[in-house]
Amino acid sequence: MTDTSVKLETSAGGDDSRPPVLVRSPRRKPPSGSPVTRWILRILAVGYVLGLVALPVGTVIEHTFENGLEPVLESLRNPDLQSAARLGVFVAVISVVINTVFGVGISILIVRYRFPGRRLLNAIIDLPVSISPIVVGIALIFVYGSGGWFGPALTSMGIQIIFATPALILATVIVALPLVVREVIPVLEEAGTEQDQAAQSLGANAFQRFVRITLPTIKWALAYGVVLSLARSLGEFGAVRVVSGSVAGESQTLTLFVNDSYQEFGAQAEQDAFTAAFLLMCVAVLFIVIIALLRPKEQTK
């Protein structure tokens, strides 16, 4: 049986009209298609990206600078835009700090320790990626809102979470939670525990091992995760929308400002929306550049 099947295969190979040397030579890389195919693929890919990303983004830029630079500068002087930008950056930075500290902690816990519920924890961390941010927002209201579990107790203590900055931070933390963890875990897993054990046998305590061994090992992955988180946190809209009162100058982040201004009537409001959107975009581009610079370093590690 085996014999016949082998023979069948070889005879089929022999019938193949292509020159066998080109196909079989293991040393040479197979040519990546004819020039025509290559050009068609290129045009398709470039066209796809242009139509989906570059074109809409381009129109934002076009609309922002439709009437020259002066209206843009006027928008930038709008105190509501300024405070929205400040709040947005504040919320993002605090969220990233929280996510970095806990992200590194959780990653070390998951990689280095075996405990009941470890796989569950590992799975739950990914939840914010698959859950719609709006659900996160509503869930937060259920827990911390005036009718929620902790709401009444918190209100009686004079602490307001929902419709205030704490809720914005909570929502942003949850949404960006997996980003640091997912970058750090593979690097920690690849590094293994032996370097840590070697450091231990050389007399290093837990803190010294973290600072001298673990941190340098994960630094590029961590930097990458932090930048990703920062980008995600600044751009977060859905969860923040639900838990924020979106009061201008108080609980309005930059993304909410874009939304609210755009829905307002009036040329200046629209101009404000475009200017704010343009700001968000500039930051995004900056992050993409940083990420592109970090990526190769991480891979060579």
């Binding site: 590094a191 032996e194 370097q195 054990q197 070697a198 450091a199 231990q200 046998s201 050389l202 007399g203 290093a204 305590n205 010294q208 001298r212 061994i213 340098p216 090992t217």
Partner: protein
């Protein structure tokens, strides 16, 4: 006694890694923990290092009760099979690590690290990263790193296991020489009996979580306590119902009272040695056995051995044999 291990038990779930192990390692000796994979030798080493903790039992290092001390509080240097080099640090910084942790003055660190790098022949590689070194060089760096803090005990877990045969042999000799110079109490784990026999002062054979036998390489080879040790330390074959080393069988052209008749079935030449496979006609035990005999080329030629030839076999004078259990 440098290290005294008493009544150690260790389980991983249902798997019994060590069962009631007692071991004493004298100061300044080079001791091999020898045994098959999964036999518990690495676990024992890691318990001595403090990288694992026993379920029951005690560990004493230089008279200090160390069972529950974390590794950083024991005066123990550990060398891993896969080097465990600090990848982000230069060779120099790797070796300096333990001294930096101990906050030694910079000048003293420099002096000690350079001495050690010279000792392991890596002085010209001080500024390289571990990724720029070969496996053998990385392991020598790891050794220098472990020795830098002047541990009372040096523990090596399959230190040459990841290296190719040539480098392994070089490092083996080099470790022996290093030990003769430094006299630091050393325990190394290996599953390679040749390595253990060649390098160590004392061998501890571990199998199935228990110590089978402890003794000098000669003792273990010549007076194995049981057939496991006999089989693990060198080649064995059966003749007339007994375990015997194939180089301890004498081949005779003529019948003798204590010899068993046999027919040569196959001859294989491996370099300088000749392996003769035979089939006995059934000796005193009446059992047919198929022993093989290790001969030199000249012995085989003198006996004019060839397949089909009738010869007589007996165990040569004072050999070690064991009844087949």
């Amino acid at each position: 006694m440098s290290i005294a291990v008493t009544g150690i038990n260790k389980r991983f779930g249902d798997f019994v890694a060590l069962s009631d192990v007692d071991l004493e390692v004298p100061t300044g000796r080079l001791t091999a923990l020898l045994g098959p994979s999964g036999g518990g030798k690495s676990t024992l080493l890691r318990i001595i290092a403090g990288l694992e903790f026993p379920d029951t039992g005690t560990v004493e290092i230089e008279g200090v009760h160390a069972t529950w001390l974390p590794p950083q509080k024991r005066s123990v240097g550990f060398v891993f099979q896969h080097y465990a080099a600090f990848k982000h640090l230069s060779v120099y910084r790797n070796v300096a690590f333990g001294l930096e942790i101990r906050k030694k003055p910079k000048a003293e660190i420099r002096k000690r690290v350079m001495e050690l790098l010279e000792l392991v022949h890596l002085e010209q590689f001080a500024d390289r990263l571990p990724s720029q070194l070969s496996g053998g060089q990385r392991q020598r760096m790891a050794l220098a790193r472990a020795l830098a803090v002047q541990p009372e005990v040096l523990l090596l877990d399959e230190p040459f296991g990841a290296l190719d045969a040539q480098v392994r042999k070089e490092l083996r000799d080099w470790l022996r020489n290093l030990h003769d110079e430094m006299h630091v109490t050393t325990i190394f784990v290996t599953h390679d009996q040749e390595e253990a026999l060649e390098v160590s002062d004392e061998i501890v054979v571990i199998n199935g979580g228990k110590i089978e036998q402890t003794g000098s390489p000669d003792d273990l080879y010549d007076k194995p306590a049981n057939d496991f040790v006999m089989k693990f330390l060198g080649p064995v074959t059966t003749l007339d119902g007994r375990l015997v080393r194939p180089h301890d069988i004498e081949v005779l052209r003529a019948a003798e009272s204590d010899a068993v008749g046999a027919t040569v079935t196959k001859l294989t030449r491996v370099g300088f040695e000749v392996r003769a496979e035979l089939r006995t006609a059934g000796g005193r035990s009446g059992e047919v056995s198929e022993p093989w005999v290790q001969l030199t080329r000249s012995q085989a030629e003198a006996l004019a051995l060839e397949p089909g030839r009738e010869v007589w076999l007996r165990t040569s004078s004072a050999p070690q044999t064991l009844a087949v259990s």
